[in-house]
Subunit: 758 residues, 2 copies
């Protein structure tokens, strides 16, 4: 009887219930299947055990395990063994990638006085793994070119493009100089890239204690913050152009792959670059002369920050061993019982810069515990409809190598099958951070409502909502404050880059989610030798309750996606979000225009000359042509198409709900699901973004000049930011068309769903 | 012929001309007299000589000259001699005031380790006067009570009321503790006052290098900023209750004045307090334990800032010699030729904490050069209509003693005669800062338009306007930006306290203006032994061109006010400004209400419990009763009265203009001027502000909890800030009535002017 199956698919149509939401409708499920699903999910969430998480972490972080190290391969084998032990079909997939490791590093001041940088992280007696120097990678930035330079030093703040505009106005050039930038303000790889664009011959990056040291809290080992010798390693590959192996752009780095010669790999840096501690940076910065740095550029060292250049000279030498190393991706597969060709993929990397208890092991152990729990469910008779793929990536740290090469190798299959990719990385105490495709915003909100927060006992969703209410963003309007309470779903962040979702979302157009807890503990061991088991169990999620919460959250999402009769994408939140992006770029265009008009006027009035302080001269900016008004109609039309088709899809859902799920024809439902999966693909263009074809998604991309930080509607936004007006107009048309394509895809899904209901 | 005298008084009615504005109409002058006036003003402005300013400074700052010191009296005699030499009728007026000087100061950490504070500013070899230790006052806070306390230390940030709310939420009490506060965030005297209110037994105030040290720039003697041993002396008298001699509130401290016993002087501190250098503060702060201070509380010392209290104990001892000292105010008078009973008063103090080249000598030498120039004009036949009084105050530093006692002594005469008081204090390179009574906003803008800026050659008015356009205030609206260019007058600041205008404006209701240049050089010698001739001639207005500009500005204002046929008060800008204040307090009431409602809601929802971090616990705030809606009609009605009568006055001016000035009857004009002078008096109430009757002005006052920082409509605003709703409503009615009184006074002036014109 149809009456008995009311409320199929109606999770979209009711307001969210308060926690605990362990009953009631479930989006994508009929009433009967929702009940069964909730049972499986509840069983699943009871399994993850903090003692296991702790034990896994102790094992995985016991020794340094960077790409190419013995313990990296050893960990992969151990992971494989565990997955198999739990009954999963697992294997290791290898790739051979370019990975340089340093053989020579030197930094010294040679004038006006002499100082030689230590470039080493000493053993801390209380920390048992901090002394494994034989196995540790020294502090360096991977994919820096080799070099040997002697030059004056210029302090460039964060080293982002605006900082060079300020230096210009102050009459300071970095041409022929070594720049010293502090970490922060952008992803590190941007700093040497912009420095090289401005003619610098070398780049040092240091951790200022203001962002990452005693200013933020007590330093290791008394506290969790970075001490004077701690160094942030990290990749400086030009990932905004393409991530993964520099020698095999766009294709998997398999044994026989065609490889570029190293000198054609455009993602290597143009100048040598090295990270240093604030202990090593302080004598250099203290000896600098030249103008005093602007207030916002000053850090927390007990010195007056000067910009240089002066009589000071620095010698900096760097040489690496360049060669191929083997990656070990560990992949486990649970075949779908009825829809084996629709994949739900879950990943976290296992490689680290050194011991990596926090990054990535804290996330990897949650994933591992999920896998164990899924194994147990399978033994109890659980049969996921879709195929589930669990992945422990290698080589994330140097450049998202393992995930990118795997995604590129399996690109065709993934484009055909992959429904959702769920990522995690480091994990800590605090609040659930949700970012990803806004077609999944409603879905992941539903999951978050069911996970109890370990500290407060309200749901992790509720705690995040409370936090946003309690800590308003600067400049929050009354409407935004109101929305925090009234909008059924919490807004999720958009994804830039910095972890393994990148190839899935940006290159292949697979709807993706990134999950992790954090925000309660200041951490200062990122990419240092002190990111280890001692640190994690003293200063982070010491009882692993947030590790368990991550396993519960991500695992629930995986199961719910794998079991759903209809994939729970949602196009209302998506359209609502795209509308905001469109409004933002329209406003950006207006502001750019207004700013240029205003500045030109100020130049004409003689303002800059009149307020110049002869003792601290600032040059007058150059006049710029006033930007034209741009035609935003294509974006508006694309948005209208989204709006219209999202409505159609909702109507189809309502109809499905009214008719009851049991009437749905399996084959037609399969068609509807296939068309739903295709929506995210429709947001890509195969020739990608301007000057970086690897990045195909037209809604989200890491910024060309931010590195990790996202740019939404990137083609349009970056053209505007870079004042390339004709390009901006071109991109508006392209992206408008993409939105129309997505609208067509949504309409296709709505029709298919309508067909299935008939 | 009437036609020949068009444009009398029409300076109000034309838009400001661009610089140079040395011709055209002049507010308060007929066309003929304007021409003569401009000639005298031009002659005047040609006189001030930078070489003289330099020589005066070298003489006045050659030795320490605090209240009661030999060189203080010596300077007064020298000033007197100069004024007489230039032909002015000058004398010294003395008062006997309570002024404590320290005989014992000790500060040491006794647990967990030992450290004894240095409490001394060493000689700097390059600086010839820094070694005059025999004559220097040691670093201390005047009017701290004596004490000898041993207690734990708690860091209270700036030590303002909000900081204690934060400490409360963090579960930290200062009861029985010594607090250590950094300078900044309020006037220093607020820190021990609020600490005592919260039960602290002692208070240390240190100069954090973030606000006042190497963070801001190179330190002395390499640069102008405070070095590790520099200490900011200063008064901690509770001046927001009443300034001046603590023993003679409200009356002049003449030889025979009735004096309070010291123990009844409420403006002494309740707990001992002492200023220290960051060199002395660092070992104490570094040894503290307890929670890490909130991010906004952290300074620029290379430590993690902790709040305490912990095992640490500090011993702090202070004992002063308490006794009367003699002040020497130097007063010169130029009698008015036709209106001897209308006074224009100009003042700057001459006493310093130590050598005081910047504070106050840089301002005093400008005043002195003005006096010399006026003496020259008199010899050339200039005859000011009104009486001009030039004052060099003693005892400003300890508590505005010299100006307050003089104003209290001559209160009756001043209330009858004083039209305007023009103040200055320290002076440096940069922008003209104008603050004061908004009845003079239009006038002082007119003066500023005629003074060339020494560096840019545009007018100092234009340069200030450009600066405001170039550096928008945070959160500036497009309307405010637009106003910066379109409003004929630059808005001037309202006066709080911190210099000698206080008794004139706040106690007697005399329209006042404070002038000074600054903003281009960061300075770190405030109230230290390094504020001396060496410092000033290396790091401030080294060529004295801004000293000359100050003399030109203030002197032009004095002459123009003294010579005007009709006093150039303006009630349009004044009404415009009061309207903003009324809107502000209305918005403050709304915001307070909204905030309390929102916070109560958050408490009810369990938000604070849910977002509590068990490792860094924050207590839940207490629920508060929702404030009632208040009746703001009296303020609105008062504002309407201002609006209406300002219009009437403007019409009377137009009529006067149409009729021509020559038709004005001298006696009736005198009546109009007297009524104009009375308008500022009408803004006072003889019983003053709640709990501080000495402060009679109802539009401006220093904040009870800010000290120097102004509170406009203080009775209303502070009642709202302190959540005293019935008091707020009472004050709204009182201040509304005051605005109506002022409206009546303006109407009286309008009628008198109308009579004069007939």
């Amino acid at each position: 009887m149809r009456k008995s199956v009311v409320c199929f698919l109606c999770g979209w149509l009711v307001l969210p219930s308060a926690f605990p939401a362990d009953s009631g409708p479930l989006a994508g499920y009929s009433e009967t299947s929702a009940r069964a699903e909730r049972d499986w999910e509840a069983k699943f969430r009871a399994i993850p055990d903090t003692a296991n998480l702790r034990a896994y972490m102790q094992r995985l972080s016991a020794r340094p395990h960077h790409v190419g190290s013995p313990y990296d391969a050893d960990n992969a084998e151990w992971l494989l063994g565990k997955l198999k032990e739990w009954g999963l079909d697992a294997h290791i997939e290898t790739f051979d990638v370019l990975f340089p490791t340093p053989k020579e590093r030197a930094l010294e001041m040679i004038a006006p006085s002499r100082f030689t940088a230590r470039l080493a992280e000493p053993t801390e007696a209380v920390d048992p793994t901090s002394g494994q120097h034989d196995e540790q990678l020294p502090s360096y930035n991977a994919y820096s070119i080799d070099g040997d330079v002697t030059a004056p030093l210029v302090y460039v703040n964060f080293g982002i493009p605006e900082d060079y505009e300020t230096l210009d106005r102050l009459g300071i050039s970095v041409k022929g100089a070594i720049v010293v930038a502090r970490y922060g303000g952008s992803w590190r790889g941007i700093k040497p890239k912009v420095a090289a664009e401005h003619g610098a011959v070398g780049c040092l990056i240091y951790s200022d204690p203001h962002e990452d040291g005693y200013f933020a809290g007590d330093v290791f080992p008394a506290g969790g913050l970075r001490n004077r010798d701690g160094v942030q390693r990290g990749s400086v590959m030009d990932m905004p152009v393409y991530p993964g192996d520099p020698l095999t752009p766009g294709v998997g780095a398999t044994k026989d792959a065609k490889r570029l010669p190293i000198d054609q790999a455009v993602t290597l840096t143009k100048i040598p670059v090295m990270p240093i501690s604030y202990g090593d940076a302080q004598p250099l910065l203290a000896a600098m002369t030249g103008p005093v740095a602007p207030p916002a550029w000053r850090g927390a060292l007990p010195i007056t920050y000067h910009l240089g250049p002066g009589a000071m000279k620095v010698h900096f030498k760097l040489a690496s061993t360049w060669g191929l190393k083997t990656l070990h991706d560990v992949i486990a597969r649970i075949p779908g019982s009825s829809e084996p060709d629709e994949w739900i993929i879950r990943g976290n990397h296992h490689d680290a810069w050194v011991n990596g208890a926090d990054d990535p092991v804290s996330g990897a152990v949650a994933l591992l515990e999920e896998a164990r729990a899924l194994g147990m469910l399978l033994k109890q008779g659980w049969k996921p409809r879709r195929t589930i793929v669990y992945c422990l990536w290698d080589g994330e740290e140097p450049g998202l190598l393992g995930s990118t090469e795997w995604a590129e190798t399996h690109a065709d299959e993934l484009r055909r099958t992959a429904a959702v990719y769920i990522n995690s990385d480091s994990n800590g105490r605090g609040y659930l951070q949700m970012s990803g495709s806004h077609t999944l915003e409603h879905f992941i909100n539903g999951v978050a409502r069911e996970i109890p927060d370990p500290e407060s006992k309200v749901s992790v969703w509720q705690r995040q909502q409370f936090r946003r209410i309690a800590n308003p963003m600067p400049g929050q309007t009354p409407q935004e404050r109101q929305e925090l309470r009234s909008r059924p779903d919490l807004r999720i962040g958009a994804l830039g880059s910095g972890s393994d979702y990148t190839a899935f979302l940006d290159h292949l157009g697979i709807a993706s989610i990134d999950l992790g807890f954090g925000g309660e503990d200041a951490s200062g061991i990122y990419h240092s030798a002190y990111d280890d088991f001692y640190w994690y169990t003293h200063f982070s999620d010491t009882t692993f309750v947030y590790g368990r919460a991550l396993a519960q959250t991500a695992g629930t999402a995986v199961i719910r996606l794998a079991d759903a009769e209809l994939l729970p994408y949602d196009f209302d939140d998506f359209t609502d979000t795209v509308r905001r992006y469109v409004q933002e770029v329209e406003q950006l265009a207006r502001e750019k225009r207004d700013q240029i008009i205003e500045r030109n006027r100020q130049i004409d009035e003689g303002l800059f000359a009149a307020i110049n302080d002869p003792r601290h001269p600032m040059g007058e900016p150059a006049k710029e042509p006033v930007p034209p008004f741009l035609n935003f109609a294509p974006l508006e039309n694309g948005l209208a198409a989204l709006d219209r088709t999202a409505q159609l899809y909702k109507q189809a859902l309502v109809q499905a709900n009214a008719n009851g799920g049991s009437a749905l024809a399996r084959a037609l439902l399969r068609d509807a699901n296939a068309r739903l999966i295709a929506v995210e693909r429709a947001l890509t263009l195969s020739d990608g973004l301007p000057n970086r074809p690897w990045f195909q998604h037209q809604i989200y991309a890491p910024g060309f000049y931010t590195g990790y930080g996202v740019k939404t509607l990137p083609g349009v936004r970056e053209a505007l930011e870079q004042k390339q007006w004709p390009l901006a107009e071109e991109q508006i048309a392209r992206v408008g068309k993409v939105l129309e394509n997505a609208g067509e895809a949504i309409q296709g899904a709505a029709s298919a769903l309508g067909q299935a209901v008939k």
